[in-house]
Amino acid sequence: MPTDWGSLLIQLFSGLSRAMMLFLVSSGLSLIFGVMNILNFAHATLWLLGGYITFSIYTLLAGYYGVSILLLAPAVVAATLALFAIGWAIERTLVRRMYGRELPEQLLLTFALILIIGDLIRLFWGVQNLRIVLPIEPMPVLGSFVNPYLFFIIAVGLIVAGLLWWFLARTRTGKIVRAAVYSRDMVSALGIRIPNIYALVFALGVAIAAFSAGVFLPIIPIGLGMDMDLIVQCFAVVVIGGFGSIVGTFVASLLVGIVYSFSILIWPDGALAIIFVILVAVLIWRPWGLFGTEMRF
Protein backbone atom coordinates (compact mmCIF):
# COMPACT_ATOMS: atom_id res chain seq x y z
CA MET A 1 0.00 0.00 0.00
CA PRO A 2 1.48 3.36 -1.03
CA THR A 3 1.56 5.80 1.82
CA ASP A 4 3.30 8.86 0.40
CA TRP A 5 1.32 12.11 0.64
CA GLY A 6 1.26 12.60 -3.10
CA SER A 7 -0.68 9.46 -3.89
CA LEU A 8 -2.99 9.96 -0.92
CA LEU A 9 -3.75 13.42 -2.28
CA ILE A 10 -4.45 12.01 -5.75
CA GLN A 11 -6.82 9.51 -4.18
CA LEU A 12 -8.52 12.33 -2.30
CA PHE A 13 -9.05 14.37 -5.47
CA SER A 14 -10.26 11.41 -7.43
CA GLY A 15 -12.58 10.56 -4.52
CA LEU A 16 -13.93 14.11 -4.47
CA SER A 17 -14.56 14.14 -8.20
CA ARG A 18 -16.25 10.76 -7.93
CA ALA A 19 -18.34 12.22 -5.10
CA MET A 20 -19.45 15.04 -7.39
CA MET A 21 -20.66 12.60 -10.02
CA LEU A 22 -22.44 10.50 -7.40
CA PHE A 23 -24.10 13.63 -6.10
CA LEU A 24 -25.23 14.88 -9.49
CA VAL A 25 -26.79 11.52 -10.35
CA SER A 26 -28.17 10.73 -6.88
CA SER A 27 -29.72 14.13 -6.25
CA GLY A 28 -32.22 13.52 -9.06
CA LEU A 29 -32.86 9.97 -7.91
CA SER A 30 -33.49 11.22 -4.39
CA LEU A 31 -35.79 14.07 -5.47
CA ILE A 32 -37.79 11.81 -7.78
CA PHE A 33 -38.32 9.37 -4.95
CA GLY A 34 -38.95 12.12 -2.42
CA VAL A 35 -41.58 13.89 -4.50
CA MET A 36 -43.24 11.10 -6.47
CA ASN A 37 -42.34 7.96 -4.48
CA ILE A 38 -40.94 6.46 -7.65
CA LEU A 39 -37.72 4.46 -7.60
CA ASN A 40 -36.26 5.28 -10.99
CA PHE A 41 -34.04 2.27 -11.70
CA ALA A 42 -33.41 3.68 -15.20
CA HIS A 43 -31.86 6.86 -13.81
CA ALA A 44 -28.27 5.83 -14.49
CA THR A 45 -29.24 4.48 -17.91
CA LEU A 46 -30.51 7.95 -18.79
CA TRP A 47 -27.21 9.27 -17.39
CA LEU A 48 -25.44 6.92 -19.81
CA LEU A 49 -27.60 8.11 -22.72
CA GLY A 50 -26.61 11.67 -21.81
CA GLY A 51 -22.95 10.65 -22.00
CA TYR A 52 -23.37 9.09 -25.47
CA ILE A 53 -25.26 12.12 -26.78
CA THR A 54 -22.52 14.42 -25.43
CA PHE A 55 -19.93 12.22 -27.12
CA SER A 56 -21.65 12.42 -30.50
CA ILE A 57 -22.20 16.17 -30.38
CA TYR A 58 -18.61 16.73 -29.26
CA THR A 59 -17.25 14.46 -31.99
CA LEU A 60 -19.33 16.29 -34.57
CA LEU A 61 -18.07 19.69 -33.38
CA ALA A 62 -14.47 18.48 -33.09
CA GLY A 63 -14.71 17.28 -36.71
CA TYR A 64 -15.35 20.86 -37.79
CA TYR A 65 -13.28 22.86 -35.34
CA GLY A 66 -10.58 20.44 -34.15
CA VAL A 67 -9.99 18.89 -30.75
CA SER A 68 -10.59 21.39 -27.97
CA ILE A 69 -11.86 21.23 -24.43
CA LEU A 70 -13.98 24.31 -25.15
CA LEU A 71 -16.14 22.29 -27.55
CA LEU A 72 -17.13 20.06 -24.67
CA ALA A 73 -19.20 22.88 -23.15
CA PRO A 74 -21.77 23.24 -25.97
CA ALA A 75 -21.92 19.45 -26.28
CA VAL A 76 -22.69 19.05 -22.56
CA VAL A 77 -25.28 21.82 -22.62
CA ALA A 78 -27.02 20.36 -25.68
CA ALA A 79 -27.09 16.85 -24.18
CA THR A 80 -28.39 18.21 -20.87
CA LEU A 81 -31.24 19.98 -22.66
CA ALA A 82 -31.94 16.88 -24.76
CA LEU A 83 -32.21 14.71 -21.65
CA PHE A 84 -34.41 17.32 -19.98
CA ALA A 85 -36.82 16.95 -22.90
CA ILE A 86 -36.52 13.15 -22.92
CA GLY A 87 -37.08 13.05 -19.16
CA TRP A 88 -40.16 15.26 -19.47
CA ALA A 89 -41.56 13.04 -22.22
CA ILE A 90 -40.90 9.82 -20.27
CA GLU A 91 -42.63 11.22 -17.20
CA ARG A 92 -45.65 12.48 -19.15
CA THR A 93 -46.15 9.26 -21.09
CA LEU A 94 -44.93 6.42 -18.86
CA VAL A 95 -43.84 7.23 -15.33
CA ARG A 96 -47.05 9.14 -14.46
CA ARG A 97 -48.98 5.90 -14.85
CA MET A 98 -46.97 4.40 -11.99
CA TYR A 99 -47.92 6.92 -9.28
CA GLY A 100 -49.45 5.16 -6.33
CA ARG A 101 -48.59 1.73 -7.73
CA GLU A 102 -46.62 -0.92 -5.91
CA LEU A 103 -42.84 -1.10 -6.14
CA PRO A 104 -42.76 -4.27 -8.33
CA GLU A 105 -44.80 -2.48 -11.01
CA GLN A 106 -42.46 0.49 -10.90
CA LEU A 107 -39.54 -1.90 -11.16
CA LEU A 108 -41.08 -3.54 -14.24
CA LEU A 109 -41.48 -0.22 -16.04
CA THR A 110 -38.12 1.25 -15.15
CA PHE A 111 -36.34 -2.05 -15.83
CA ALA A 112 -38.00 -2.16 -19.25
CA LEU A 113 -36.64 1.34 -19.84
CA ILE A 114 -33.14 0.14 -18.92
CA LEU A 115 -33.36 -2.63 -21.55
CA ILE A 116 -34.91 -0.43 -24.25
CA ILE A 117 -32.49 2.47 -23.79
CA GLY A 118 -29.57 0.03 -23.51
CA ASP A 119 -30.53 -1.56 -26.84
CA LEU A 120 -30.98 1.83 -28.48
CA ILE A 121 -27.47 2.76 -27.34
CA ARG A 122 -26.15 -0.53 -28.76
CA LEU A 123 -27.93 0.22 -32.03
CA PHE A 124 -26.68 3.79 -32.43
CA TRP A 125 -23.25 3.73 -30.79
CA GLY A 126 -22.22 0.06 -30.83
CA VAL A 127 -20.75 -1.96 -27.99
CA GLN A 128 -17.26 -0.48 -27.73
CA ASN A 129 -16.39 1.95 -24.95
CA LEU A 130 -16.19 5.58 -26.00
CA ARG A 131 -14.17 8.42 -24.57
CA ILE A 132 -13.10 11.90 -25.41
CA VAL A 133 -9.33 12.29 -25.46
CA LEU A 134 -8.23 15.77 -24.57
CA PRO A 135 -4.65 16.98 -24.37
CA ILE A 136 -4.50 17.79 -20.67
CA GLU A 137 -1.07 18.05 -19.03
CA PRO A 138 -0.89 16.38 -15.60
CA MET A 139 -0.03 18.79 -12.83
CA PRO A 140 2.67 18.00 -10.29
CA VAL A 141 1.31 17.92 -6.73
CA LEU A 142 3.63 16.90 -3.85
CA GLY A 143 5.81 14.72 -6.07
CA SER A 144 2.91 13.02 -7.88
CA PHE A 145 0.93 14.03 -10.93
CA VAL A 146 -2.75 14.96 -10.82
CA ASN A 147 -5.00 15.49 -13.81
CA PRO A 148 -6.06 19.13 -13.40
CA TYR A 149 -9.39 18.26 -15.01
CA LEU A 150 -10.30 16.68 -11.65
CA PHE A 151 -10.22 20.16 -10.09
CA PHE A 152 -12.51 21.38 -12.84
CA ILE A 153 -14.96 18.53 -12.14
CA ILE A 154 -14.94 19.27 -8.41
CA ALA A 155 -15.55 22.97 -9.04
CA VAL A 156 -18.35 22.32 -11.55
CA GLY A 157 -19.93 19.78 -9.20
CA LEU A 158 -19.91 22.29 -6.36
CA ILE A 159 -21.42 24.97 -8.60
CA VAL A 160 -24.26 22.71 -9.75
CA ALA A 161 -24.83 21.59 -6.14
CA GLY A 162 -25.00 25.28 -5.18
CA LEU A 163 -27.45 26.05 -7.99
CA LEU A 164 -29.64 23.12 -7.01
CA TRP A 165 -29.59 24.29 -3.39
CA TRP A 166 -30.51 27.82 -4.53
CA PHE A 167 -33.36 26.48 -6.65
CA LEU A 168 -34.79 24.44 -3.76
CA ALA A 169 -34.24 27.04 -1.05
CA ARG A 170 -34.97 30.31 -2.80
CA THR A 171 -37.34 29.88 -5.73
CA ARG A 172 -41.09 29.41 -5.45
CA THR A 173 -40.98 26.28 -7.61
CA GLY A 174 -38.17 24.88 -5.47
CA LYS A 175 -40.18 25.49 -2.32
CA ILE A 176 -43.15 23.72 -3.90
CA VAL A 177 -40.87 20.74 -4.64
CA ARG A 178 -39.76 20.64 -0.99
CA ALA A 179 -43.37 20.91 0.15
CA ALA A 180 -44.31 18.05 -2.19
CA VAL A 181 -41.63 15.85 -0.60
CA TYR A 182 -43.63 16.25 2.63
CA SER A 183 -47.18 16.01 1.28
CA ARG A 184 -48.24 15.86 -2.37
CA ASP A 185 -51.89 15.88 -1.35
CA MET A 186 -51.56 19.15 0.52
CA VAL A 187 -49.63 20.83 -2.30
CA SER A 188 -52.33 19.73 -4.71
CA ALA A 189 -55.09 20.93 -2.36
CA LEU A 190 -53.53 24.41 -2.48
CA GLY A 191 -54.38 24.57 -6.18
CA ILE A 192 -50.85 23.94 -7.40
CA ARG A 193 -50.75 21.92 -10.64
CA ILE A 194 -48.85 18.98 -9.21
CA PRO A 195 -48.52 17.05 -12.53
CA ASN A 196 -46.29 19.85 -13.84
CA ILE A 197 -44.15 19.64 -10.70
CA TYR A 198 -43.76 15.89 -11.24
CA ALA A 199 -42.66 16.36 -14.84
CA LEU A 200 -40.24 19.11 -13.86
CA VAL A 201 -38.64 17.09 -11.07
CA PHE A 202 -38.20 14.06 -13.31
CA ALA A 203 -36.81 16.08 -16.22
CA LEU A 204 -34.50 18.11 -13.99
CA GLY A 205 -33.17 15.01 -12.23
CA VAL A 206 -32.42 13.28 -15.52
CA ALA A 207 -30.87 16.45 -17.01
CA ILE A 208 -28.48 16.92 -14.08
CA ALA A 209 -27.43 13.27 -14.42
CA ALA A 210 -26.81 13.73 -18.16
CA PHE A 211 -24.77 16.83 -17.40
CA SER A 212 -22.47 14.89 -15.08
CA ALA A 213 -22.02 12.12 -17.65
CA GLY A 214 -20.85 14.69 -20.21
CA VAL A 215 -18.51 16.45 -17.83
CA PHE A 216 -16.86 13.12 -16.95
CA LEU A 217 -16.25 11.99 -20.54
CA PRO A 218 -12.64 13.23 -20.69
CA ILE A 219 -11.59 11.08 -17.72
CA ILE A 220 -13.69 7.94 -17.87
CA PRO A 221 -14.69 6.12 -21.02
CA ILE A 222 -18.38 5.27 -21.14
CA GLY A 223 -19.73 1.90 -22.12
CA LEU A 224 -22.71 -0.38 -21.78
CA GLY A 225 -23.16 -1.77 -18.29
CA MET A 226 -21.73 1.26 -16.52
CA ASP A 227 -25.24 2.35 -15.67
CA MET A 228 -25.70 -0.79 -13.56
CA ASP A 229 -22.57 -0.14 -11.49
CA LEU A 230 -23.56 3.46 -11.00
CA ILE A 231 -27.20 2.93 -10.08
CA VAL A 232 -26.22 0.52 -7.31
CA GLN A 233 -23.84 3.08 -5.81
CA CYS A 234 -26.37 5.87 -6.20
CA PHE A 235 -28.97 3.86 -4.33
CA ALA A 236 -26.41 3.41 -1.57
CA VAL A 237 -25.80 7.18 -1.53
CA VAL A 238 -29.49 8.03 -1.43
CA VAL A 239 -30.26 5.53 1.31
CA ILE A 240 -27.31 6.68 3.43
CA GLY A 241 -28.21 10.35 2.97
CA GLY A 242 -31.95 9.88 3.38
CA PHE A 243 -34.45 9.85 0.51
CA GLY A 244 -35.64 13.30 -0.47
CA SER A 245 -32.88 15.17 1.38
CA ILE A 246 -30.48 17.06 -0.89
CA VAL A 247 -28.10 17.92 1.95
CA GLY A 248 -28.08 14.24 2.94
CA THR A 249 -27.37 13.19 -0.64
CA PHE A 250 -24.47 15.63 -0.78
CA VAL A 251 -22.89 14.44 2.47
CA ALA A 252 -23.44 10.76 1.55
CA SER A 253 -21.88 11.35 -1.90
CA LEU A 254 -18.76 12.78 -0.27
CA LEU A 255 -18.64 9.87 2.15
CA VAL A 256 -19.15 7.18 -0.49
CA GLY A 257 -16.90 8.84 -3.09
CA ILE A 258 -13.97 9.33 -0.74
CA VAL A 259 -14.31 6.00 1.09
CA TYR A 260 -14.53 4.20 -2.27
CA SER A 261 -11.49 5.99 -3.57
CA PHE A 262 -9.34 5.13 -0.53
CA SER A 263 -10.70 1.58 -0.38
CA ILE A 264 -9.39 1.01 -3.89
CA LEU A 265 -5.94 1.90 -2.58
CA ILE A 266 -6.16 -0.50 0.34
CA TRP A 267 -8.42 -3.32 -0.83
CA PRO A 268 -9.41 -2.92 -4.50
CA ASP A 269 -11.76 -5.90 -4.62
CA GLY A 270 -13.62 -4.89 -1.50
CA ALA A 271 -14.28 -1.21 -2.29
CA LEU A 272 -17.95 -1.72 -3.08
CA ALA A 273 -18.35 -4.07 -0.12
CA ILE A 274 -17.11 -1.35 2.24
CA ILE A 275 -19.74 1.05 0.87
CA PHE A 276 -22.41 -1.48 1.66
CA VAL A 277 -21.04 -2.09 5.16
CA ILE A 278 -21.51 1.66 5.75
CA LEU A 279 -24.98 1.42 4.24
CA VAL A 280 -25.99 -1.40 6.56
CA ALA A 281 -24.55 0.43 9.57
CA VAL A 282 -26.53 3.57 8.72
CA LEU A 283 -29.70 1.54 8.19
CA ILE A 284 -29.36 -0.05 11.61
CA TRP A 285 -28.58 3.23 13.32
CA ARG A 286 -30.95 5.54 11.38
CA PRO A 287 -33.27 3.61 9.03
CA TRP A 288 -34.41 6.85 7.36
CA GLY A 289 -30.84 7.87 6.50
CA LEU A 290 -28.48 10.48 7.90
CA PHE A 291 -30.57 13.51 6.94
CA GLY A 292 -33.89 11.95 6.01
CA THR A 293 -37.15 12.19 7.88
CA GLU A 294 -39.54 9.36 8.51
CA MET A 295 -41.90 8.86 5.59
CA ARG A 296 -45.26 10.55 5.23
CA PHE A 297 -47.79 10.59 2.44
Binding site: R172, K175, I176, R178, A179, Y182, S183, D185, M186, V187, S188, A189, L190, G191, I192, R193, I194, P195, T293
Partner: protein, 237 residues
Protein backbone atom coordinates in the same frame (compact mmCIF):
# COMPACT_ATOMS: atom_id res chain seq x y z
CA UNK B 1 -71.06 36.01 -4.42
CA UNK B 2 -70.49 32.42 -5.41
CA UNK B 3 -73.00 29.61 -5.61
CA UNK B 4 -73.62 26.86 -3.05
CA UNK B 5 -71.69 23.68 -2.38
CA UNK B 6 -73.97 20.73 -2.97
CA UNK B 7 -73.12 17.17 -2.08
CA UNK B 8 -75.65 14.58 -3.24
CA UNK B 9 -75.66 10.91 -2.38
CA UNK B 10 -71.90 10.75 -1.76
CA UNK B 11 -70.47 7.26 -1.37
CA UNK B 12 -66.79 6.80 -0.61
CA UNK B 13 -64.43 4.05 0.42
CA UNK B 14 -61.39 4.15 2.61
CA UNK B 15 -59.22 1.37 1.20
CA UNK B 16 -61.71 -1.46 0.79
CA UNK B 17 -64.13 -0.40 3.52
CA UNK B 18 -67.26 1.53 2.65
CA UNK B 19 -67.18 4.71 4.78
CA UNK B 20 -69.78 7.10 3.36
CA UNK B 21 -73.28 5.83 2.56
CA UNK B 22 -74.99 8.55 0.58
CA UNK B 23 -74.14 11.84 2.29
CA UNK B 24 -76.30 14.82 1.28
CA UNK B 25 -75.40 18.32 2.34
CA UNK B 26 -75.52 21.92 1.19
CA UNK B 27 -73.50 24.98 2.16
CA UNK B 28 -75.11 28.21 0.98
CA UNK B 29 -72.95 31.24 0.17
CA UNK B 30 -71.80 32.99 3.34
CA UNK B 31 -73.04 30.20 5.57
CA UNK B 32 -71.06 28.50 8.33
CA UNK B 33 -72.02 24.84 8.53
CA UNK B 34 -70.75 22.18 10.88
CA UNK B 35 -70.37 18.44 10.42
CA UNK B 36 -70.80 17.02 13.88
CA UNK B 37 -70.03 13.50 14.92
CA UNK B 38 -67.75 11.25 16.88
CA UNK B 39 -64.37 10.02 15.73
CA UNK B 40 -64.42 7.77 12.70
CA UNK B 41 -67.96 8.46 11.50
CA UNK B 42 -66.87 9.84 8.12
CA UNK B 43 -66.39 13.59 8.67
CA UNK B 44 -62.80 13.64 7.43
CA UNK B 45 -63.63 11.36 4.49
CA UNK B 46 -66.47 13.73 3.52
CA UNK B 47 -64.05 16.67 3.56
CA UNK B 48 -61.39 14.79 1.64
CA UNK B 49 -63.94 13.64 -0.94
CA UNK B 50 -65.10 17.20 -1.54
CA UNK B 51 -61.43 18.15 -2.00
CA UNK B 52 -60.88 15.29 -4.46
CA UNK B 53 -58.35 13.59 -2.21
CA UNK B 54 -60.57 10.54 -1.72
CA UNK B 55 -62.33 9.38 -4.88
CA UNK B 56 -66.12 9.34 -4.65
CA UNK B 57 -67.57 6.01 -5.79
CA UNK B 58 -70.98 7.46 -6.37
CA UNK B 59 -72.78 10.74 -6.01
CA UNK B 60 -72.34 14.24 -7.20
CA UNK B 61 -70.46 17.22 -5.79
CA UNK B 62 -71.03 20.66 -7.29
CA UNK B 63 -69.72 24.03 -6.25
CA UNK B 64 -70.72 27.35 -7.70
CA UNK B 65 -72.50 25.54 -10.54
CA UNK B 66 -69.43 23.49 -11.44
CA UNK B 67 -69.39 19.71 -11.22
CA UNK B 68 -66.38 18.73 -9.12
CA UNK B 69 -66.80 14.96 -9.36
CA UNK B 70 -63.66 13.32 -10.72
CA UNK B 71 -61.62 16.52 -10.82
CA UNK B 72 -58.07 16.45 -9.39
CA UNK B 73 -57.57 18.36 -6.10
CA UNK B 74 -55.75 21.27 -7.73
CA UNK B 75 -58.73 21.92 -10.03
CA UNK B 76 -61.11 21.78 -7.07
CA UNK B 77 -58.93 24.25 -5.17
CA UNK B 78 -58.96 26.48 -8.23
CA UNK B 79 -62.73 26.58 -8.24
CA UNK B 80 -62.54 28.47 -4.95
CA UNK B 81 -62.29 25.87 -2.17
CA UNK B 82 -59.61 26.17 0.52
CA UNK B 83 -58.72 23.21 2.72
CA UNK B 84 -57.30 23.07 6.26
CA UNK B 85 -56.90 19.34 7.03
CA UNK B 86 -57.07 17.93 10.54
CA UNK B 87 -53.50 16.61 10.20
CA UNK B 88 -52.61 20.26 9.40
CA UNK B 89 -49.82 19.17 7.05
CA UNK B 90 -47.73 22.29 7.58
CA UNK B 91 -44.63 21.95 5.41
CA UNK B 92 -42.12 21.42 8.21
CA UNK B 93 -38.89 22.61 6.58
CA UNK B 94 -40.47 25.68 4.99
CA UNK B 95 -40.67 28.87 7.04
CA UNK B 96 -44.01 30.23 8.23
CA UNK B 97 -43.78 32.90 5.55
CA UNK B 98 -42.96 30.35 2.82
CA UNK B 99 -45.83 28.15 3.96
CA UNK B 100 -48.14 31.11 3.33
CA UNK B 101 -46.51 32.39 0.14
CA UNK B 102 -46.44 29.01 -1.56
CA UNK B 103 -50.26 28.99 -1.31
CA UNK B 104 -50.88 32.33 -3.07
CA UNK B 105 -53.60 32.10 -5.70
CA UNK B 106 -55.48 35.12 -7.07
CA UNK B 107 -59.16 35.56 -6.18
CA UNK B 108 -61.64 34.25 -8.74
CA UNK B 109 -63.86 37.32 -8.71
CA UNK B 110 -62.31 40.66 -9.53
CA UNK B 111 -62.99 43.30 -6.95
CA UNK B 112 -62.56 40.98 -3.97
CA UNK B 113 -59.98 42.13 -1.48
CA UNK B 114 -57.20 39.54 -1.81
CA UNK B 115 -55.57 37.93 1.23
CA UNK B 116 -52.02 39.10 1.83
CA UNK B 117 -49.36 38.28 4.43
CA UNK B 118 -50.35 41.47 6.27
CA UNK B 119 -54.02 40.47 6.45
CA UNK B 120 -53.10 36.97 7.67
CA UNK B 121 -50.82 38.42 10.36
CA UNK B 122 -53.59 40.82 11.35
CA UNK B 123 -56.03 37.93 11.80
CA UNK B 124 -53.43 35.70 13.50
CA UNK B 125 -51.00 38.14 15.18
CA UNK B 126 -49.12 35.24 16.78
CA UNK B 127 -47.70 34.23 13.37
CA UNK B 128 -46.01 37.54 12.61
CA UNK B 129 -43.01 37.20 14.98
CA UNK B 130 -42.64 33.55 13.87
CA UNK B 131 -42.54 34.25 10.14
CA UNK B 132 -38.90 33.18 9.70
CA UNK B 133 -39.28 30.03 11.84
CA UNK B 134 -39.61 26.61 10.27
CA UNK B 135 -43.19 25.35 10.17
CA UNK B 136 -42.14 22.15 11.93
CA UNK B 137 -41.23 24.01 15.11
CA UNK B 138 -44.59 25.61 15.85
CA UNK B 139 -46.94 24.72 18.68
CA UNK B 140 -50.24 23.01 17.86
CA UNK B 141 -52.23 26.25 18.03
CA UNK B 142 -49.74 28.14 15.88
CA UNK B 143 -49.75 25.31 13.34
CA UNK B 144 -53.54 25.37 13.23
CA UNK B 145 -53.59 29.12 12.60
CA UNK B 146 -50.97 28.71 9.91
CA UNK B 147 -53.04 25.94 8.32
CA UNK B 148 -56.06 28.25 8.14
CA UNK B 149 -53.89 31.16 6.99
CA UNK B 150 -52.34 29.03 4.26
CA UNK B 151 -55.79 28.02 3.00
CA UNK B 152 -56.86 31.70 2.98
CA UNK B 153 -53.85 32.76 0.87
CA UNK B 154 -55.50 30.97 -2.05
CA UNK B 155 -58.46 33.39 -1.74
CA UNK B 156 -61.13 30.70 -1.41
CA UNK B 157 -64.84 31.48 -1.36
CA UNK B 158 -65.47 28.31 0.65
CA UNK B 159 -63.22 27.11 3.45
CA UNK B 160 -63.14 23.48 4.61
CA UNK B 161 -61.83 23.23 8.19
CA UNK B 162 -61.35 19.73 9.50
CA UNK B 163 -61.46 19.74 13.31
CA UNK B 164 -59.77 23.13 13.69
CA UNK B 165 -59.66 23.11 17.50
CA UNK B 166 -58.90 19.43 18.07
CA UNK B 167 -56.23 18.85 20.70
CA UNK B 168 -55.69 22.54 21.46
CA UNK B 169 -55.49 24.11 24.92
CA UNK B 170 -58.71 25.86 26.09
CA UNK B 171 -57.18 29.36 25.82
CA UNK B 172 -56.09 28.67 22.27
CA UNK B 173 -59.54 27.28 21.44
CA UNK B 174 -61.07 30.56 22.66
CA UNK B 175 -58.67 32.59 20.57
CA UNK B 176 -59.27 30.52 17.45
CA UNK B 177 -63.04 30.65 17.98
CA UNK B 178 -62.92 34.46 17.89
CA UNK B 179 -60.72 34.36 14.80
CA UNK B 180 -63.06 31.99 12.97
CA UNK B 181 -66.04 34.21 13.85
CA UNK B 182 -64.07 37.17 12.50
CA UNK B 183 -63.38 35.18 9.36
CA UNK B 184 -67.04 34.25 9.02
CA UNK B 185 -67.92 37.94 9.14
CA UNK B 186 -65.84 38.53 6.01
CA UNK B 187 -68.58 36.66 4.13
CA UNK B 188 -66.62 33.51 3.31
CA UNK B 189 -68.57 30.22 3.40
CA UNK B 190 -67.25 27.72 5.92
CA UNK B 191 -67.81 23.99 6.28
CA UNK B 192 -66.11 22.55 9.32
CA UNK B 193 -65.98 19.18 11.01
CA UNK B 194 -66.15 19.02 14.77
CA UNK B 195 -66.73 16.70 17.72
CA UNK B 196 -66.97 19.52 20.22
CA UNK B 197 -70.54 20.83 20.45
CA UNK B 198 -69.70 23.97 22.41
CA UNK B 199 -67.26 25.19 19.77
CA UNK B 200 -69.76 24.33 17.04
CA UNK B 201 -72.64 26.26 18.67
CA UNK B 202 -70.43 29.34 18.96
CA UNK B 203 -69.62 29.56 15.26
CA UNK B 204 -72.00 27.48 13.15
CA UNK B 205 -75.35 28.53 11.69
CA UNK B 206 -76.40 25.01 10.87
CA UNK B 207 -75.19 21.48 11.55
CA UNK B 208 -75.30 18.03 10.07
CA UNK B 209 -74.81 15.16 12.47
CA UNK B 210 -73.03 12.27 10.83
CA UNK B 211 -72.94 8.75 12.17
CA UNK B 212 -71.90 5.57 10.40
CA UNK B 213 -71.36 7.43 7.12
CA UNK B 214 -74.94 8.80 7.01
CA UNK B 215 -76.52 12.14 7.89
CA UNK B 216 -78.68 11.63 11.02
CA UNK B 217 -79.69 15.19 11.75
CA UNK B 218 -79.88 18.31 9.66
CA UNK B 219 -80.91 21.61 11.11
CA UNK B 220 -80.13 24.68 13.15
CA UNK B 221 -78.11 24.29 16.33
CA UNK B 222 -80.96 25.72 18.43
CA UNK B 223 -83.17 22.88 17.20
CA UNK B 224 -80.51 20.40 18.20
CA UNK B 225 -80.50 21.88 21.71
CA UNK B 226 -84.18 20.89 22.00
CA UNK B 227 -83.47 17.27 21.03
CA UNK B 228 -81.27 15.86 23.80
CA UNK B 229 -81.95 12.27 22.64
CA UNK B 230 -80.16 12.98 19.33
CA UNK B 231 -77.26 14.61 21.15
CA UNK B 232 -77.01 11.66 23.50
CA UNK B 233 -77.18 9.13 20.68
CA UNK B 234 -74.73 10.60 18.19
CA UNK B 235 -72.46 12.97 20.06
CA UNK B 236 -70.06 12.77 22.95
CA UNK B 237 -71.57 14.97 25.59
Amino acid sequence: MSGPLEVENLHAFYGTSHVLFGINLTVHPGECVCLLGRNGVGKTTTMRSIMGLVPARDGRITYDGRNLSGLPPHEIARSGIGFAPDARLIFPDLSVRDNLEIAIKPPLASGTLPWTLERIYKLFPILKPLEANAGGYLSGGEQQMLTVGRALMGNPTLLLLDEPVEGLAPVVVQELTQQIIELKNTGISILFAEQNLSFATQVADRAYIIEGGRVRFDGRLEDLERQPEIKAKYLMI
